[in-house]
């Protein structure tokens, strides 16, 4: 299943300039794994070595912070949108 992922400005060097990409997966963790397949180096930018989301990155499914959901295990359904957002000052660099 593919979902739309919004990429913030600092990560667009990795996503070859794309602000929005399609990625496959049934959970946020799966989607990040697919992003890594499409754009090598993405995982390192998003996750710490232990698989946790980096401290200064917030991930939203639709409008909800995944820390209010099920973290990286948060499941996705068709039509969901995943936003990757710098955490500082809510710093969301991706455009809608």
């Amino acid at each position: 299943m593919a979902v739309l992922v919004r990429i913030p400005t600092p990560l667009r060097t990795v996503s070859k300039g794309a602000a929005e990409v399609q990625a496959a997966g049934d959970s946020v963790a799966d989607v990040i794994a697919d992003l890594e397949r499409q754009f090598p180096g993405m995982r390192e930018r998003l996750l710490e070595d232990n698989g946790n989301v980096r401290r200064f990155i917030n991930v939203y499914v639709n409008e909800e912070d995944i820390r209010f959901l099920d973290g990286p295990k948060t499941t996705l359904k068709p039509g969901d949108q995943v936003s990757i957002v710098p955490a500082i000052a809510g710093g969301r660099a991706a455009s809608r």
């Binding site: 600092p10 060097t13 980096r54 200064f56 820390r67 710098p86 000052a89 809510g90 660099a93 455009s95």
Partner: protein
Amino acid sequence: MDRVRGLTCRECGRSYPTAPAHVCEFCFGPLEVDYDYAAIRPLVSRARIEAGPRSIWRYAPLLPVELSPDGEPPVGAAVGFTPLIRARNLGEELGVRELYVKNDSVCHPTWSFKDRVVSVAFAKALEFGFDTVACASTGNLANSVAAHAAEARLAAYVFIPADLEPSKVTATLVYQPTVVAVHGTYDEVNRLCSEVADKYPWAFVNINIRPYYAEGSKTYAYEIAEQLGWRAPAHVVVPCAGGSLLTKVAKAFKELRLLGLIPEGQTRMHAAQAAGCGPIVTMIKNDTDVLVPVRPQTIAKSLAIGNPADGYYAYRAVKDSGGHGEHATDEEIVQGMRLLARTEGIFTETAGGVTVAAARKLVESGRIPRDEPVVICITGNGLKTPDALQDRLSVDVTIRPSLSVFDQALADLKSSRASEL
């Protein structure tokens, strides 16, 4: 500017040039102003600072902005240098021998410590060539951004939660910025603003200008140290919303020590938050550096940030200094406001009530020893949030303009108070 090398990432240490940027492109860590303290050292001394203007600009060499050749800042010339009060009555009430209140409820011009950060942010925004400023705010920042934009003749967009206290909205509207009320919490407003900041070429003081803006908070602590006779207190109790003020107060004392302006020592940083929105204090109490965001539910709306940007660093500053933190319930917040007013004649907003209530708990639990110097940070004015008290206070008696009626009323009041005792 020789004093400032540029920006560095607090997390991974990567360097960036001085620019309107706030996030590390690699790890998304926050960017911070990188000073060359060797270049600053010859510019500062106790005597030089004391000879400076009675405003935050006496500390200009420690800020990331340039003054004009005649020493004038571009905006906010009269900001800061607020009173540090020796709070004997409140000290007696709390059982603390040496207690002080740093009173930014009378900061010029909008009665909160935000005037410090905004004037520094605007100086930088003007230097960068912006003609429009903006912010996401829980109220005090909105007031200050709107006021300083008027002074600097900048266009201003102010984004606030739609349920903000009416008095804070009025105190923003009067300066005639564009006010955008957003249905949502501050965190949601802020998230929207991050998107707006990415799309419109505006100086968002708490987003793309944040590294410079946050430095303005240091002046609050510089003043405390100078007003104590060039020493830092053993304890400071700081209200936390985004957590920036606490981290910058800690940084300021460190800088003053580094520059030899105050003696070596340790100031214990204590965080004060509302029970209904206290993610930083929760980290401290649970001894974890993982912040769990919350949905705010408190009368202290100026502190109602459930996902604080500097939460991690505020936690670190508290832990590294050997300090602690306390939560205050809505009832305790009101009691704190009333206690400060009754003992020291200072009317603070709900955030100040949080700080007083937290200080009381920290003393009662022994986290703050009763024989060490303590400074309580009062950062906003009570007239901004009268709604918090309106339902709890009433006039004692209403009478006709007649002396005999007054005599009777007074007798009744005295007897009813005597029976209460």
